[in-house]
Amino acid sequence: MANQLLEVKGIDVFYGDGQALWDVSITVEEGAIVALVGANGAGKTTLLKTISGLIHARKGEILLSGKSLSNLKPQEIVDRGIIHVPEGRRLFSNLTVLENLKLGAYVPRARPFFAESLERVFSLFPALKTRKDQKAGSLSGGEQQMLAIARGIMAQPKLLMLDEPSLGLSPILVKTIFELISALNEQKATILLVEQNITQALKIAHRAYVLKTGEIVMSGRGDELLANEEIRKAYIGERVSKR
Protein backbone atom coordinates (compact mmCIF):
# COMPACT_ATOMS: atom_id res chain seq x y z
CA MET A 1 0.00 0.00 0.00
CA ALA A 2 1.18 3.47 -0.74
CA ASN A 3 2.84 5.71 1.80
CA GLN A 4 2.92 3.97 5.13
CA LEU A 5 3.18 6.69 7.78
CA LEU A 6 3.27 4.45 10.85
CA GLU A 7 4.33 0.84 10.95
CA VAL A 8 4.17 -1.18 14.15
CA LYS A 9 5.94 -4.48 13.58
CA GLY A 10 5.37 -7.41 15.89
CA ILE A 11 5.66 -5.73 19.27
CA ASP A 12 5.47 -7.47 22.64
CA VAL A 13 4.79 -5.20 25.60
CA PHE A 14 4.95 -6.08 29.28
CA TYR A 15 3.78 -4.44 32.47
CA GLY A 16 6.23 -5.94 34.95
CA ASP A 17 5.93 -9.67 34.33
CA GLY A 18 2.50 -9.54 32.75
CA GLN A 19 2.35 -9.40 29.00
CA ALA A 20 -0.07 -6.81 27.67
CA LEU A 21 0.53 -6.98 23.91
CA TRP A 22 1.40 -10.07 21.89
CA ASP A 23 3.09 -9.69 18.53
CA VAL A 24 0.99 -6.69 17.54
CA SER A 25 1.44 -5.25 14.05
CA ILE A 26 -0.51 -2.38 12.57
CA THR A 27 0.03 0.15 9.82
CA VAL A 28 -1.43 3.60 9.32
CA GLU A 29 -1.36 5.10 5.82
CA GLU A 30 -0.77 8.77 5.27
CA GLY A 31 -4.10 10.62 5.26
CA ALA A 32 -6.17 7.77 6.70
CA ILE A 33 -8.32 7.32 9.75
CA VAL A 34 -7.40 4.00 11.30
CA ALA A 35 -9.49 2.80 14.22
CA LEU A 36 -8.39 0.53 17.02
CA VAL A 37 -11.36 -1.12 18.65
CA GLY A 38 -11.91 -3.73 21.30
CA ALA A 39 -13.16 -4.26 24.82
CA ASN A 40 -11.78 -2.58 27.92
CA GLY A 41 -8.40 -4.02 28.84
CA ALA A 42 -7.74 -5.32 25.33
CA GLY A 43 -4.54 -3.26 25.16
CA LYS A 44 -5.63 -0.30 23.01
CA THR A 45 -4.26 2.36 25.35
CA THR A 46 -1.12 0.28 25.92
CA LEU A 47 -0.49 0.26 22.19
CA LEU A 48 -0.84 4.06 21.99
CA LYS A 49 1.44 4.52 25.00
CA THR A 50 4.03 2.29 23.37
CA ILE A 51 3.88 4.28 20.15
CA SER A 52 4.30 7.56 22.06
CA GLY A 53 7.25 6.17 24.01
CA LEU A 54 5.71 6.17 27.48
CA ILE A 55 6.21 2.40 27.55
CA HIS A 56 8.89 0.49 25.68
CA ALA A 57 8.29 -2.66 23.69
CA ARG A 58 10.37 -5.68 24.61
CA LYS A 59 10.27 -7.01 21.08
CA GLY A 60 9.42 -5.60 17.67
CA GLU A 61 9.83 -2.25 16.03
CA ILE A 62 7.91 0.97 15.42
CA LEU A 63 8.63 3.10 12.37
CA LEU A 64 7.47 6.55 11.38
CA SER A 65 7.89 7.20 7.64
CA GLY A 66 10.33 4.31 7.61
CA LYS A 67 12.49 5.64 10.47
CA SER A 68 12.74 3.65 13.67
CA LEU A 69 11.41 5.17 16.86
CA SER A 70 13.10 2.58 19.07
CA ASN A 71 14.76 3.98 22.18
CA LEU A 72 13.43 7.46 21.58
CA LYS A 73 12.07 9.37 24.58
CA PRO A 74 8.44 10.56 24.54
CA GLN A 75 9.49 14.17 23.96
CA GLU A 76 11.60 13.12 20.95
CA ILE A 77 8.70 11.17 19.49
CA VAL A 78 6.47 14.24 19.85
CA ASP A 79 9.10 16.22 17.99
CA ARG A 80 9.03 13.63 15.20
CA GLY A 81 5.32 14.38 14.82
CA ILE A 82 3.36 11.71 16.69
CA ILE A 83 0.91 13.38 19.04
CA HIS A 84 -0.96 11.38 21.62
CA VAL A 85 -4.17 12.91 23.01
CA PRO A 86 -4.62 10.71 26.07
CA GLU A 87 -7.76 9.22 27.51
CA GLY A 88 -9.46 11.46 30.04
CA ARG A 89 -8.13 14.56 28.22
CA ARG A 90 -5.39 15.22 30.83
CA LEU A 91 -5.62 18.99 30.46
CA PHE A 92 -3.72 21.35 32.74
CA SER A 93 -6.82 22.50 34.52
CA ASN A 94 -5.23 25.38 36.47
CA LEU A 95 -3.75 26.79 33.28
CA THR A 96 -5.79 28.89 30.87
CA VAL A 97 -7.08 27.58 27.57
CA LEU A 98 -4.44 29.65 25.77
CA GLU A 99 -1.64 28.36 28.01
CA ASN A 100 -2.74 24.79 27.30
CA LEU A 101 -2.59 25.54 23.58
CA LYS A 102 0.83 27.18 23.94
CA LEU A 103 2.18 24.06 25.60
CA GLY A 104 0.66 22.04 22.76
CA ALA A 105 3.01 23.91 20.43
CA TYR A 106 6.00 23.52 22.77
CA VAL A 107 8.19 21.37 20.53
CA PRO A 108 10.70 23.30 18.40
CA ARG A 109 9.18 21.90 15.20
CA ALA A 110 5.76 23.40 16.02
CA ARG A 111 6.79 26.76 17.48
CA PRO A 112 7.25 28.68 14.22
CA PHE A 113 3.68 27.76 13.23
CA PHE A 114 2.15 28.88 16.52
CA ALA A 115 0.12 31.79 15.15
CA GLU A 116 -1.24 29.87 12.20
CA SER A 117 -2.01 26.77 14.30
CA LEU A 118 -3.83 28.95 16.78
CA GLU A 119 -5.91 30.52 14.06
CA ARG A 120 -6.77 27.09 12.66
CA VAL A 121 -7.73 25.76 16.08
CA PHE A 122 -9.90 28.78 16.85
CA SER A 123 -11.71 28.45 13.54
CA LEU A 124 -12.31 24.75 14.23
CA PHE A 125 -13.41 25.43 17.81
CA PRO A 126 -14.85 28.95 18.08
CA ALA A 127 -15.90 28.24 21.69
CA LEU A 128 -12.24 28.00 22.71
CA LYS A 129 -11.52 31.44 21.32
CA THR A 130 -14.13 33.11 23.50
CA ARG A 131 -12.84 31.20 26.51
CA LYS A 132 -9.14 31.51 25.84
CA ASP A 133 -8.36 33.27 29.12
CA GLN A 134 -10.48 30.94 31.22
CA LYS A 135 -8.94 28.12 33.20
CA ALA A 136 -9.18 24.83 31.34
CA GLY A 137 -10.75 23.23 34.42
CA SER A 138 -13.73 25.57 34.15
CA LEU A 139 -14.75 24.30 30.69
CA SER A 140 -17.59 21.86 30.14
CA GLY A 141 -16.78 18.22 29.35
CA GLY A 142 -17.31 18.71 25.63
CA GLU A 143 -15.20 21.87 25.52
CA GLN A 144 -12.46 20.10 27.45
CA GLN A 145 -12.36 17.34 24.85
CA MET A 146 -12.23 19.96 22.09
CA LEU A 147 -9.33 21.62 23.91
CA ALA A 148 -7.51 18.31 24.28
CA ILE A 149 -7.78 17.71 20.53
CA ALA A 150 -6.94 21.35 19.78
CA ARG A 151 -3.85 21.09 21.98
CA GLY A 152 -2.81 18.09 19.90
CA ILE A 153 -3.30 19.99 16.65
CA MET A 154 -1.08 22.80 17.94
CA ALA A 155 1.87 20.40 17.77
CA GLN A 156 1.55 20.17 13.95
CA PRO A 157 1.04 16.41 14.10
CA LYS A 158 1.95 14.06 11.29
CA LEU A 159 -0.03 11.43 13.16
CA LEU A 160 -2.70 12.32 15.69
CA MET A 161 -3.56 9.54 18.12
CA LEU A 162 -6.86 10.05 19.89
CA ASP A 163 -7.63 7.84 22.87
CA GLU A 164 -11.36 7.57 23.62
CA PRO A 165 -12.27 11.10 22.50
CA SER A 166 -16.00 10.47 22.91
CA LEU A 167 -15.82 8.96 26.38
CA GLY A 168 -18.25 10.48 28.87
CA LEU A 169 -19.84 12.88 26.40
CA SER A 170 -23.54 13.33 25.67
CA PRO A 171 -24.84 11.73 22.43
CA ILE A 172 -24.98 15.12 20.67
CA LEU A 173 -21.39 15.89 21.60
CA VAL A 174 -20.31 12.40 20.56
CA LYS A 175 -21.73 13.17 17.13
CA THR A 176 -19.93 16.53 17.07
CA ILE A 177 -16.62 14.92 17.99
CA PHE A 178 -16.90 12.29 15.26
CA GLU A 179 -17.83 14.92 12.68
CA LEU A 180 -14.84 16.89 13.79
CA ILE A 181 -12.51 13.92 13.42
CA SER A 182 -13.80 13.40 9.88
CA ALA A 183 -13.35 17.09 9.14
CA LEU A 184 -9.79 17.02 10.44
CA ASN A 185 -9.11 14.04 8.25
CA GLU A 186 -10.46 15.87 5.21
CA GLN A 187 -7.88 18.55 6.00
CA LYS A 188 -5.24 15.85 5.47
CA ALA A 189 -4.71 14.80 9.09
CA THR A 190 -3.74 11.18 9.66
CA ILE A 191 -5.56 9.79 12.66
CA LEU A 192 -5.18 6.70 14.79
CA LEU A 193 -8.40 6.46 16.75
CA VAL A 194 -9.04 4.35 19.83
CA GLU A 195 -12.73 4.11 20.60
CA GLN A 196 -15.15 2.04 22.56
CA ASN A 197 -17.98 3.57 20.56
CA ILE A 198 -17.32 0.95 17.91
CA THR A 199 -20.18 1.70 15.53
CA GLN A 200 -19.27 5.36 15.19
CA ALA A 201 -15.57 4.60 14.96
CA LEU A 202 -16.02 2.01 12.21
CA LYS A 203 -18.29 4.37 10.30
CA ILE A 204 -15.64 7.05 9.91
CA ALA A 205 -12.55 4.81 9.76
CA HIS A 206 -10.97 3.79 6.49
CA ARG A 207 -9.50 0.77 8.15
CA ALA A 208 -9.72 -0.78 11.59
CA TYR A 209 -8.04 -3.31 13.83
CA VAL A 210 -9.78 -5.35 16.50
CA LEU A 211 -7.71 -5.99 19.61
CA LYS A 212 -8.64 -8.77 21.99
CA THR A 213 -6.64 -9.52 25.16
CA GLY A 214 -3.51 -8.05 23.69
CA GLU A 215 -3.68 -9.53 20.21
CA ILE A 216 -4.95 -8.27 16.88
CA VAL A 217 -7.77 -10.69 16.04
CA MET A 218 -9.22 -9.02 12.98
CA SER A 219 -8.60 -6.14 10.62
CA GLY A 220 -10.17 -4.71 7.53
CA ARG A 221 -12.03 -1.79 6.04
CA GLY A 222 -14.28 0.07 8.46
CA ASP A 223 -17.49 -0.67 6.61
CA GLU A 224 -16.54 -4.34 6.18
CA LEU A 225 -15.99 -4.79 9.88
CA LEU A 226 -19.17 -2.91 10.62
CA ALA A 227 -21.07 -5.46 8.54
CA ASN A 228 -19.18 -8.41 10.00
CA GLU A 229 -21.45 -10.82 11.87
CA GLU A 230 -18.86 -11.72 14.48
CA ILE A 231 -18.09 -8.10 15.30
CA ARG A 232 -21.76 -7.23 15.55
CA LYS A 233 -22.33 -10.08 17.96
CA ALA A 234 -19.22 -9.57 20.09
CA TYR A 235 -19.13 -5.80 20.38
CA ILE A 236 -22.07 -4.04 18.91
CA GLY A 237 -24.79 -6.57 19.73
CA GLU A 238 -23.62 -6.67 23.29
CA ARG A 239 -24.25 -2.97 23.62
CA VAL A 240 -27.74 -3.22 22.18
CA SER A 241 -28.72 -6.09 24.44
CA LYS A 242 -27.52 -4.18 27.49
CA ARG A 243 -30.00 -1.40 26.94
Binding site: D79, F92, N94, L95, K102, L103, V107, A155
Partner: protein, 291 residues
Amino acid sequence: MSEFEIIFQVLINGILFGTMYGIAAIGLSLIFGTMRIIFFAQGAIIIFFAYICYWLFTLLGIDPYLSLILVIPAALLLGAGFYYGLFKEAAALEQKEVSLLIAIGLLWLMENAMMVAWTPNPRTIVTAYTSWVLRPGGLVIPFTRLMALLIALLSAVGVFVFLKRTRIGTAVRAASEDMESTTLMGINPNWVNAVAFALGIGLAGTAGVAFATVYSFDPMYGFTFVIMSVIALAFGGFGNVFGALLGGIILGVLQSGASFFVSAGWADAICFGTFLLVLMFRPQGLFGKKV
Protein backbone atom coordinates in the same frame (compact mmCIF):
# COMPACT_ATOMS: atom_id res chain seq x y z
CA MET B 1 4.83 52.14 74.19
CA SER B 2 1.08 51.80 74.07
CA GLU B 3 -0.61 48.44 73.87
CA PHE B 4 -1.53 49.14 70.27
CA GLU B 5 2.08 49.90 69.41
CA ILE B 6 3.23 46.68 71.07
CA ILE B 7 0.77 44.60 69.10
CA PHE B 8 1.81 46.38 65.95
CA GLN B 9 5.47 45.76 66.71
CA VAL B 10 4.84 42.05 67.31
CA LEU B 11 2.96 41.92 64.04
CA ILE B 12 5.77 43.62 62.12
CA ASN B 13 8.44 41.36 63.60
CA GLY B 14 6.34 38.36 62.71
CA ILE B 15 5.77 39.49 59.15
CA LEU B 16 9.44 40.27 58.64
CA PHE B 17 10.57 36.90 59.92
CA GLY B 18 7.70 35.08 58.28
CA THR B 19 8.68 36.19 54.77
CA MET B 20 11.89 34.13 55.26
CA TYR B 21 9.83 31.04 55.88
CA GLY B 22 7.69 32.16 52.99
CA ILE B 23 10.41 32.23 50.35
CA ALA B 24 11.82 28.96 51.62
CA ALA B 25 8.30 27.54 51.33
CA ILE B 26 7.93 28.80 47.75
CA GLY B 27 11.10 26.88 46.91
CA LEU B 28 9.74 23.77 48.58
CA SER B 29 6.47 24.19 46.75
CA LEU B 30 8.19 24.41 43.34
CA ILE B 31 10.29 21.32 43.94
CA PHE B 32 7.33 19.46 45.39
CA GLY B 33 5.27 20.43 42.37
CA THR B 34 7.34 18.57 39.81
CA MET B 35 9.24 16.07 42.00
CA ARG B 36 6.51 15.16 44.52
CA ILE B 37 8.91 15.23 47.44
CA ILE B 38 9.53 17.61 50.33
CA PHE B 39 13.06 18.81 49.73
CA PHE B 40 14.34 18.64 53.31
CA ALA B 41 17.82 19.87 52.39
CA GLN B 42 16.36 23.34 51.62
CA GLY B 43 17.09 24.58 55.19
CA ALA B 44 20.70 23.43 55.13
CA ILE B 45 21.17 25.10 51.75
CA ILE B 46 19.77 28.37 53.11
CA ILE B 47 22.29 28.21 55.94
CA PHE B 48 25.01 27.29 53.44
CA PHE B 49 24.30 30.47 51.51
CA ALA B 50 24.16 32.43 54.77
CA TYR B 51 27.74 31.22 55.31
CA ILE B 52 28.73 32.11 51.76
CA CYS B 53 27.40 35.59 52.38
CA TYR B 54 29.24 35.70 55.71
CA TRP B 55 32.58 34.63 54.22
CA LEU B 56 32.28 36.93 51.23
CA PHE B 57 31.77 39.77 53.70
CA THR B 58 34.33 38.70 56.31
CA LEU B 59 37.13 37.61 54.00
CA LEU B 60 36.62 39.74 50.92
CA GLY B 61 34.65 42.64 52.35
CA ILE B 62 31.83 42.19 49.84
CA ASP B 63 28.65 43.86 51.03
CA PRO B 64 25.94 41.26 51.81
CA TYR B 65 23.33 42.88 49.56
CA LEU B 66 25.86 43.23 46.77
CA SER B 67 26.76 39.55 47.19
CA LEU B 68 23.31 38.68 45.84
CA ILE B 69 24.73 39.35 42.38
CA LEU B 70 27.05 36.38 42.91
CA VAL B 71 24.82 34.27 45.13
CA ILE B 72 21.70 34.18 42.94
CA PRO B 73 23.37 32.81 39.78
CA ALA B 74 25.48 30.43 41.87
CA ALA B 75 22.36 29.16 43.64
CA LEU B 76 20.45 28.70 40.38
CA LEU B 77 23.34 26.68 38.96
CA LEU B 78 23.74 24.68 42.14
CA GLY B 79 20.03 23.83 42.01
CA ALA B 80 20.22 22.51 38.45
CA GLY B 81 23.46 20.73 39.41
CA PHE B 82 21.80 19.05 42.40
CA TYR B 83 19.05 17.80 40.13
CA TYR B 84 21.27 16.40 37.40
CA GLY B 85 23.84 15.09 39.88
CA LEU B 86 21.65 13.59 42.57
CA PHE B 87 18.03 13.27 41.55
CA LYS B 88 17.83 12.61 37.82
CA GLU B 89 17.81 8.83 38.02
CA ALA B 90 15.59 8.69 41.10
CA ALA B 91 13.09 11.15 39.62
CA ALA B 92 12.18 8.72 36.85
CA LEU B 93 11.07 6.13 39.41
CA GLU B 94 7.48 5.60 40.40
CA GLN B 95 8.55 5.41 44.08
CA LYS B 96 9.19 8.91 45.33
CA GLU B 97 10.69 7.68 48.63
CA VAL B 98 14.07 7.31 46.95
CA SER B 99 14.20 11.01 46.07
CA LEU B 100 13.01 11.88 49.56
CA LEU B 101 15.82 9.83 51.10
CA ILE B 102 18.37 11.56 48.88
CA ALA B 103 17.05 14.93 50.10
CA ILE B 104 17.36 13.83 53.73
CA GLY B 105 20.84 12.47 53.08
CA LEU B 106 21.83 15.77 51.51
CA LEU B 107 20.51 17.63 54.57
CA TRP B 108 22.67 15.58 56.98
CA LEU B 109 25.69 15.71 54.71
CA MET B 110 25.54 19.49 54.38
CA GLU B 111 24.90 20.11 58.07
CA ASN B 112 27.76 17.89 59.15
CA ALA B 113 30.14 19.18 56.51
CA MET B 114 29.40 22.75 57.62
CA MET B 115 29.95 21.73 61.26
CA VAL B 116 33.37 20.35 60.44
CA ALA B 117 34.39 23.11 58.09
CA TRP B 118 33.01 26.13 59.93
CA THR B 119 32.54 24.92 63.57
CA PRO B 120 29.21 24.97 65.43
CA ASN B 121 29.84 28.52 66.68
CA PRO B 122 27.06 30.93 65.76
CA ARG B 123 28.07 33.59 63.23
CA THR B 124 26.78 37.10 62.83
CA ILE B 125 27.37 39.65 60.13
CA VAL B 126 27.97 43.12 61.51
CA THR B 127 27.95 45.88 58.93
CA ALA B 128 27.65 49.62 59.25
CA TYR B 129 23.90 49.37 58.77
CA THR B 130 23.23 46.37 61.02
CA SER B 131 22.05 48.62 63.84
CA TRP B 132 20.15 51.12 61.66
CA VAL B 133 16.57 51.47 62.74
CA LEU B 134 13.62 53.19 61.13
CA ARG B 135 11.13 54.74 63.50
CA PRO B 136 7.92 55.49 61.65
CA GLY B 137 5.36 56.78 64.15
CA GLY B 138 6.88 55.30 67.29
CA LEU B 139 7.43 51.86 65.79
CA VAL B 140 10.82 50.23 65.52
CA ILE B 141 11.77 48.67 62.21
CA PRO B 142 15.35 47.47 61.86
CA PHE B 143 16.72 48.36 58.43
CA THR B 144 18.08 44.87 57.73
CA ARG B 145 14.70 43.30 58.43
CA LEU B 146 13.01 45.69 56.10
CA MET B 147 15.57 44.82 53.43
CA ALA B 148 14.97 41.12 54.10
CA LEU B 149 11.28 41.72 53.52
CA LEU B 150 12.00 43.54 50.27
CA ILE B 151 14.34 40.80 49.05
CA ALA B 152 11.73 38.17 49.89
CA LEU B 153 8.93 40.03 48.12
CA LEU B 154 11.06 40.73 45.06
CA SER B 155 12.09 37.08 44.78
CA ALA B 156 8.50 35.93 45.17
CA VAL B 157 7.36 38.33 42.46
CA GLY B 158 10.30 37.31 40.28
CA VAL B 159 9.43 33.64 40.53
CA PHE B 160 5.75 34.37 39.97
CA VAL B 161 6.46 36.38 36.81
CA PHE B 162 8.83 33.69 35.55
CA LEU B 163 6.21 30.99 36.05
CA LYS B 164 3.49 33.07 34.43
CA ARG B 165 5.31 34.70 31.56
CA THR B 166 7.89 32.29 30.23
CA ARG B 167 7.35 29.17 28.17
CA ILE B 168 9.40 26.99 30.51
CA GLY B 169 7.68 28.56 33.54
CA THR B 170 4.33 27.56 32.09
CA ALA B 171 5.73 24.08 31.53
CA VAL B 172 6.79 23.91 35.19
CA ARG B 173 3.26 24.81 36.26
CA ALA B 174 1.85 22.22 33.88
CA ALA B 175 4.24 19.57 35.18
CA SER B 176 3.12 20.17 38.74
CA GLU B 177 -0.37 19.26 37.59
CA ASP B 178 0.42 16.28 35.39
CA MET B 179 3.97 15.23 34.54
CA GLU B 180 2.96 12.50 32.08
CA SER B 181 0.69 14.81 30.14
CA THR B 182 3.49 17.40 30.11
CA THR B 183 5.80 14.77 28.62
CA LEU B 184 3.20 14.13 25.89
CA MET B 185 3.56 17.82 24.92
CA GLY B 186 7.16 17.00 24.02
CA ILE B 187 8.55 18.60 27.17
CA ASN B 188 11.60 16.91 28.70
CA PRO B 189 10.75 16.03 32.32
CA ASN B 190 14.40 16.40 33.36
CA TRP B 191 14.48 19.93 32.08
CA VAL B 192 11.32 20.87 33.96
CA ASN B 193 12.60 19.26 37.17
CA ALA B 194 15.96 21.01 36.81
CA VAL B 195 14.26 24.38 36.37
CA ALA B 196 12.11 23.79 39.45
CA PHE B 197 15.24 22.88 41.40
CA ALA B 198 17.15 25.89 40.10
CA LEU B 199 14.34 28.22 41.16
CA GLY B 200 13.95 26.49 44.53
CA ILE B 201 17.66 26.69 45.34
CA GLY B 202 17.83 30.19 43.86
CA LEU B 203 15.26 31.21 46.44
CA ALA B 204 17.29 29.46 49.12
CA GLY B 205 20.22 31.65 48.06
CA THR B 206 18.27 34.89 48.49
CA ALA B 207 16.80 33.62 51.76
CA GLY B 208 20.29 32.76 52.99
CA VAL B 209 21.59 36.26 52.30
CA ALA B 210 18.53 37.94 53.81
CA PHE B 211 18.82 35.68 56.85
CA ALA B 212 22.54 36.27 57.36
CA THR B 213 22.09 40.04 57.48
CA VAL B 214 19.47 39.86 60.23
CA TYR B 215 20.11 36.88 62.49
CA SER B 216 22.99 34.85 63.83
CA PHE B 217 23.14 31.31 62.54
CA ASP B 218 24.93 28.00 63.00
CA PRO B 219 25.14 24.87 60.82
CA MET B 220 22.33 23.03 62.58
CA TYR B 221 19.76 25.77 62.23
CA GLY B 222 18.82 24.54 58.74
CA PHE B 223 16.73 21.70 60.07
CA THR B 224 14.52 23.94 62.22
CA PHE B 225 14.23 26.29 59.28
CA VAL B 226 13.03 23.63 56.86
CA ILE B 227 10.51 22.26 59.35
CA MET B 228 9.10 25.75 59.78
CA SER B 229 8.99 26.16 56.00
CA VAL B 230 7.08 22.91 55.67
CA ILE B 231 4.55 24.30 58.15
CA ALA B 232 4.34 27.51 56.13
CA LEU B 233 3.78 25.42 53.03
CA ALA B 234 1.04 23.43 54.72
CA PHE B 235 -0.66 26.67 55.80
CA GLY B 236 -0.48 28.10 52.32
CA GLY B 237 -1.38 24.93 50.46
CA PHE B 238 0.94 23.13 48.06
CA GLY B 239 1.51 24.55 44.63
CA ASN B 240 0.68 28.20 45.13
CA VAL B 241 3.44 30.87 45.16
CA PHE B 242 1.64 33.56 47.10
CA GLY B 243 -0.12 31.02 49.30
CA ALA B 244 3.28 29.76 50.42
CA LEU B 245 4.50 33.31 51.08
CA LEU B 246 1.36 34.16 53.02
CA GLY B 247 1.65 30.84 54.89
CA GLY B 248 5.14 31.89 55.95
CA ILE B 249 3.94 35.30 57.11
CA ILE B 250 1.10 33.76 59.13
CA LEU B 251 3.58 31.39 60.75
CA GLY B 252 5.98 34.24 61.51
CA VAL B 253 3.22 36.30 63.12
CA LEU B 254 2.00 33.30 65.10
CA GLN B 255 5.49 32.58 66.35
CA SER B 256 6.23 36.18 67.23
CA GLY B 257 2.82 36.60 68.89
CA ALA B 258 3.14 33.37 70.85
CA SER B 259 6.58 34.23 72.17
CA PHE B 260 5.48 37.70 73.20
CA PHE B 261 2.07 36.95 74.68
CA VAL B 262 2.67 33.43 76.02
CA SER B 263 6.38 32.67 76.32
CA ALA B 264 9.29 32.00 74.04
CA GLY B 265 9.40 28.42 75.26
CA TRP B 266 5.85 27.82 74.12
CA ALA B 267 6.13 29.55 70.75
CA ASP B 268 7.33 26.53 68.77
CA ALA B 269 4.87 24.17 70.45
CA ILE B 270 2.04 26.55 69.59
CA CYS B 271 3.23 26.72 65.96
CA PHE B 272 3.37 22.94 65.63
CA GLY B 273 0.00 22.57 67.38
CA THR B 274 -1.60 25.03 64.96
CA PHE B 275 0.03 23.18 62.07
CA LEU B 276 -1.61 19.94 63.19
CA LEU B 277 -4.97 21.66 63.68
CA VAL B 278 -4.82 23.18 60.21
CA LEU B 279 -3.98 19.84 58.64
CA MET B 280 -6.76 18.14 60.60
CA PHE B 281 -9.45 20.50 59.43
CA ARG B 282 -8.08 21.89 56.18
CA PRO B 283 -5.67 19.35 54.74
CA GLN B 284 -5.56 21.37 51.52
CA GLY B 285 -4.08 24.34 53.43
CA LEU B 286 -5.67 27.65 54.33
CA PHE B 287 -5.70 28.93 50.75
CA GLY B 288 -5.51 25.70 48.80
CA LYS B 289 -8.45 24.42 46.86
CA LYS B 290 -10.10 21.16 47.83
CA VAL B 291 -8.77 18.34 45.70
